[in-house]
């Protein structure tokens, strides 16, 4: 299951990334395997996600969220 499949208010634990380039970028921002992710809001017909990672908030595209695999 990947992050984009979560509905609003649902959460999951990050397992791994499908894409190494994105992984480098996300991990540098502190989004790591084991992080708790919650989808707070989906906008733009579900193409833009507002997520919470621990105490941080991120805006992320659906295509990017699809590379984040959850437990």
């Amino acid at each position: 299951m990947h992050l984009a499949e979560l509905k609003e208010k649902e959460e999951g634990i990050l397992l791994r990334f499908e894409d190494e380039r994105l992984a480098v970028k996300l991990m540098a921002m502190g989004v790591l395997p084991g992080s708790r992710l919650q989808v707070i809001r989906k906008n733009g017909s579900g193409n833009t996600l507002y997520i919470r990672v621990d105490q941080m908030h991120l805006a992320i595209r659906k295509t990017e969220a699809e590379c984040i695999i959850l437990k």
Binding site: E20, N43, Y50, D54, M56, L58, A59, E64
Partner: protein, 707 residues
Amino acid sequence: MKVALLGNPNSGKTSVFNKLTGLRQKVGNFPGVTVDIKTGKLQMGKSLDVDLIDLPGTYSLFPHSKDERIVVNTLCNPGDENFPDAIVYVANSAQLEKHLLLFTQLLDLNIPIVLALNMADVAEGKGMKIDNARLSKEFQTPVLSVNARTGDGIDRLKVVLEEMLFHGVQAGGFKGFRSFYALSAEEESMAEVAGETTGVKNLYQGLLIAHHHSWLTFLEEWTRETLHGALENRNFPLLHYQVRETMDRFDKLGPMLKRSVLRPKDQPLSRTEFADGILTHRFWGPIIFFVLMFLVFQAIFIGASYPMDWIEQLFSGLGHWVQTTLPDSWFVDLLVKGILAGLGGILVFIPQIAILFFLISILEEVGYMARAVFLFDNLMSRFGLNGRSIVALISGGACAVPAIMSTRTISNWKERLITIMVTPLISCSARIPVYALLIGFAIPSIPVLGIFNLQGIAFMGLYLLGITAALGAALVFKLILRSGERSFLLMELPDYKPPQLRNIGYAVYEKVKTFTLEAGKIILAISIVLWVLADFGPGKKMAQAEAEARVVAVQNQLDEAATADLIAAHQIEGSYAGYLGKFIEPVIRPLGFDWKIGIALITSFAAREVFVGTMATIYSIGSESDEFAIRDRLAQEKNPVTGKPVYNMATALSLLIFYVFAMQCMSTIAVVRRETHSWKWPIIQFVFMSGLAYLGSLLTFQVVSAF
């Protein structure tokens, strides 16, 4: 001595920079690239000469955007002119776990570093307790709390920095260098190859050079090839090692922070999330955004009108004074009609730009702009743009010059280029005087639905036309331009916080300065060129024109002022500008323009706002060149052949459309050239915008005339 300021985006780095340097800062350029570099003088105890360099905010030394690459390029090259003797690392205390990755990478570069924990009060408010002494022991480097808002800890930071710069880290009781990250055997061997080929001593610097050899600017071609070969031989997948290193650093960092940072278990729902429940709502979010933007523009028009009037009056008064005080000569003429008029033309835009950036900076400081990006990313990406483009497009409403410069935060080259290409289609403040003059002429001021005015609606319509054209052009560029680069949104939405007046003040100051210097010098130069074009003619044409006019004036028994008007009108026809206008007349006649408008169009290709002044000169009402005087004069103008008015509704509308689309700003062209590193893009932009303007005007004039 050089000190670099580093930190993640949203760490409050800029506030710390402003607090440390005050007004002793200047903006320059990184050598070879177009990214701005801010440097300031650090006033140390013994009045030492220390430069503080504000490096772009970045999350790690594995960068993705052009700005972030600057950081690696500077720190990997000990020969770089900005290579620091010490680093001040700013971290947001409330996000400490996430903000220390870059710090651990910097530790491994073996450059003296001090960790400044910013916003400690916010962290405390969240119930966090940070043990600075413990952290200092863990990292073997000074750690202290600062508050860029109140200035607490800033003096202490300077003392610590001074100690470190002049007595070394060991003097503070710290052990010598030991690396945070233990390189694997493969990484070490790769780092050594990089060290041998570049002469870099530090092992981690070597590893970074190996990682980034494909784009580091200071590497020579043979170095690049050697490193590339070595990587191939060793089967060293770069991204894989970057992921591994990042993981390893966080694994090490976790327990260290557990020992020194106390976090309450239950975190209350943050106020930020509560506010975003409305502000990023899929329905209310965009509405609030547009209401905010509407208020911003209202504030510009209302707030700027008085200071603009004062500036105009000041310069016309000054010109009058010079003309009456000094003896009549070509030099006085140049001073009044060229230099003073040009300076006035530059300064008159400062109130608008200051107000726009004041308000936009507030929205940025508060954290709202990131939400705007979130709200519009989906829409913008359909047009080949990025959520961040919305900021540039809105700023383009004031002036395309700073707007185009603001696209630097877009890391994807294609999206950035498209934003640069279409931003000048957004109606900027320089079009306002032209719009005002022509709308006042062509559209009657009648109420609509009781509360609106038809002229206001026309104004709005022109803005919307500009926006539509920008998005349409973006779509075309999206289809034409090819790019292998991947587009990211991935952006932190920082917690909302009250704005800091100091930061906003500096931002406004910087933007106004940029406009005055970047666009100002061109406007001034063009103003002088214009004066030459309008005041001089081939051969004895000018003298002949004056003699002719005098004869006509005597015949019609005109008074002194009317005689002067008539002379000027005859002279401009005989001037170089008149010849140019007549030369292009056949091309612009299908748009409803005569040679006089032709002159104004030519002068406007330098800067749009020149149009109004040129029209005043052409009709020699420079002494009373306010909007209404010009408008009345235009209404009287008759076609000498047909006897019909030259400026009818069709001509005015056609001109309006022309000004919406045409690329009539040399300052913008100069900035686009600077930002894209080539003449190719500004030329393409000039051609497509002028083509659009010509076709749009042609269609408008022909259709409106037919009715």
